[in-house]
Subunit: 412 residues, 2 copies
């Protein structure tokens, strides 16, 4: 007997038939003599519908009331799923954030879980009940309803698995695992059987949308292995877990890309101490997140060229701010480019392999792809290229690192 936490996303509970399908899967697990906690999201489209309703009332809805509003989506899902389970003869009970005290801070819309009371759930599980929990929502110390941000139900599931010391946390979604790269873009993409928390964090933040980043951080912190799989078939998915020796032998686990950034370059900036801070402070003050930053000596002596990327959605605002600041700092030459993409390779094995970067640059060069910017971390290398080469670059890197071939561990 194992204690299993299963999370089903919005698509998996998108209509009444799918909810019944989820109920059947849950009962199947229960019948294998397991204890089951199910976490569900709002039915696909419901959260967006509620947000649109709020925006009809006011362009800037109060954050506290927004959480009261959108948390109803998951409330509807848990009630319907518990009804379906009972209708199929199982004992089941739904719980909202306030009922099992999913405690959070008071950051409405992006709250962080601070604690979960496990007694009620454990009592129900020991009594043979299936426990159905509303994802995405919690309460703060003053009993205000809070929500955890987009994809927050993943974090609810992982946090509950941690609180209950569950044997397994299964995240059901509409894809059947984590792939070496986007299968829509590269036909050779291969499903990974295993990936480390750190690799998953890099993959997620680089644009792969399988899991909410925060849920992976939570899983890493409490060492909860996550099994990402599809609710529409019985295939094994991908296990996200602590890295082991075998993983380290794999140099590159995945190739990701991101087309949602734009580049801004400030040329011939007088290079005095503190100039970078002066350039970026107004950008940060406008709540714009800068991703890559590169500073080089300019062709003009005593000057530097600074290039950086921002999300495309903030591009116009950022450009306007930077133009003003640049003028104050003594240069007017600001260039920009929206037609860029970031391609990255991720893998824990990089730490112990020195020539990975060279391999990446060669692979791109062989296809005639010019690299505009480079950024590296311990387990990731990213290059900014012309966006029209994105697909070509992804396929070239996938081939260069032989990601279509199963790893030694997977062959066993």
């Amino acid at each position: 007997m194992a204690l299993i936490v299963q999370k089903y996303g919005g698509t998996s509970v998108g209509d009444v038939d799918r909810i019944k399908n989820v109920a059947r899967r849950v009962i199947h697990t229960k019948n294998q003599d397991h204890e089951v906690v199910v976490v569900v999201s709002a039915m696909a489209g419901e959260t967006d519908k509620l947000i649109r309703l709020a925006h009809q009332v006011t362009p800037s809805p109060d954050e506290r009331e927004m959480d009261v509003l959108v948390s109803t989506g998951e409330q509807v899902s848990v009630a319907l799923l518990a009804m379906a389970l009972k209708d199929m003869g199982a004992e089941a009970k739904s719980y909202l954030g306030f009922q099992i005290k999913i405690g959070t801070d008071s950051a409405f819309g992006k709250a962080r879980i601070t604690g979960i009371e496990s007694e009620k759930m454990l009592h129900d599980l020991r009594s043979g009940r299936i426990v159905v929990v509303a994802g995405f929502q919690g309460i703060d110390e003053l009993d205000n309803i809070t929500t955890l941000g987009r994809g927050g139900s993943d974090t609810t599931a992982v946090a509950i698995a941690a609180a209950l010391k569950a044997d397994s946390c299964e995240i059901y979604t509409d894809v059947d695992g984590v792939y070496t790269t986007d299968p829509n873009l590269c036909s050779k993409a291969r499903k990974l059987s295993k990936i480390s928390y750190d690799e998953m964090l890099e993959m997620a933040s680089l644009g792969s949308k399988v899991l909410q980043i925060r849920s992976v951080e939570f899983a890493k912190k409490y060492d909860v292995p996550i099994h990402v799989r599809s609710s529409f078939n019985d295939n094994l998915g991908t296990i996200v877990c602590k890295e082991d020796e075998e993983m380290e032998k794999v140099v590159v686990s995945g190739v990701t890309y991101n087309k949602n950034e734009a580049k801004i370059e400030v040329m011939r900036l007088p290079d005095t101490p503190g100039v970078a801070a002066k350039l970026f402070k107004p950008v940060a003050d406008a709540n714009i997140v800068v991703d890559m930053i590169i500073q080089t000596s300019s062709t003009e002596k005593g000057c530097a060229d600074v290039a950086f990327t921002v999300p495309k959605s903030d591009f116009n605002k950022a450009l306007q701010i930077v133009r003003e600041t640049s003028k104050e700092l003594g240069t007017k030459e600001v260039k920009s480019n929206e037609d860029i993409a970031k391609v990255s390779i991720v893998g824990v094995g990089m730490r112990s392999h020195s020539n990975v970067a060279t391999q990446m640059f060669s692979a791109l060069a062989k296809e005639g792809i010019n690299i505009q910017m480079i950024s590296t971390s311990e387990i990731k290398i990213s290059c900014i290229i012309d966006s029209k080469y994105t697909e070509l670059a992804v396929r070239a890197l996938h081939d260069a690192f032989e990601l279509d071939k199963p790893t030694v561990a997977e062959e066993k």
Copy 2:
């Protein structure tokens, strides 16, 4: 400065524009230096939509989960109204049943309020905030969500008014008060400026659907005067309050009718002690509510004729049960009639006036309307007649008791 509880029904918050309209009314009241608590129902049609969704999952949804589901309707309303209020510059905060501990018993779908914590609301009111409360919902001792039954938001409003010792409880609806009779049926119908709790209870149970019966019982118990009025205009409505001397001078306050009952007659039933109990027990066991019962000596010696009415929705079931029981009790003659209506006159003044019944019977006789059954209480007389005479009877009684003329008190 007064503390005012206002309740807005589903039609009054039926869309975003109407929610904004309610927000303006609430702020108008607040700006007259009053403290305001607003109770709202689900947007019109939402509760039915949720119930339909549940019935797509299962024909007999679990009652606990049903309450989790339908309580989301009011949650959406309070969030949107609080947003609208804040958008218009007012300080406002929404509360759900669990947040201000609207305690109830555990009778899911028809729970009764047992207590309300007033601290949070009073603190907010004293801080200048408008308090927005979800109607219809509460929590039981184990933190399960409960609902109060159709029209339950009226009861929420009255209970909150009682708990906060409010100066006034205003129920806003789509009619602008309580009328002497149905204006759609009798053009001379007049809005009452005042009506007693007991009269309102009789009117409500007899078919006038302005207020939930339980809210009137609650108001009577805690002596909370209710002001029933329209959210679409500024007219004064009807005050439902404790009866006073002036009210007693009015013999008849209103004429009501009900076409939703059917009549069953059992003829020549051997009249032995306990025979009535034997006849009605199986009906009660089937959860059918019997309204009027009349027993008379039969034309056959030692026998009795028994006639009674049941809701039309239960008519077929009741008829089948009564046919079986009658056979066992020694008679086969069971007659039935679905084409009946109940017309009633209601008024606290009846207690001290002896000839009201005679006046009623004469008025009906003058129009050639035959009375099939009569039932009376302290402040009400009801007659069962052929349903085709309903409109005629209502108008005749309205005329006979001169209900189109304002009372002495109203003329002042």
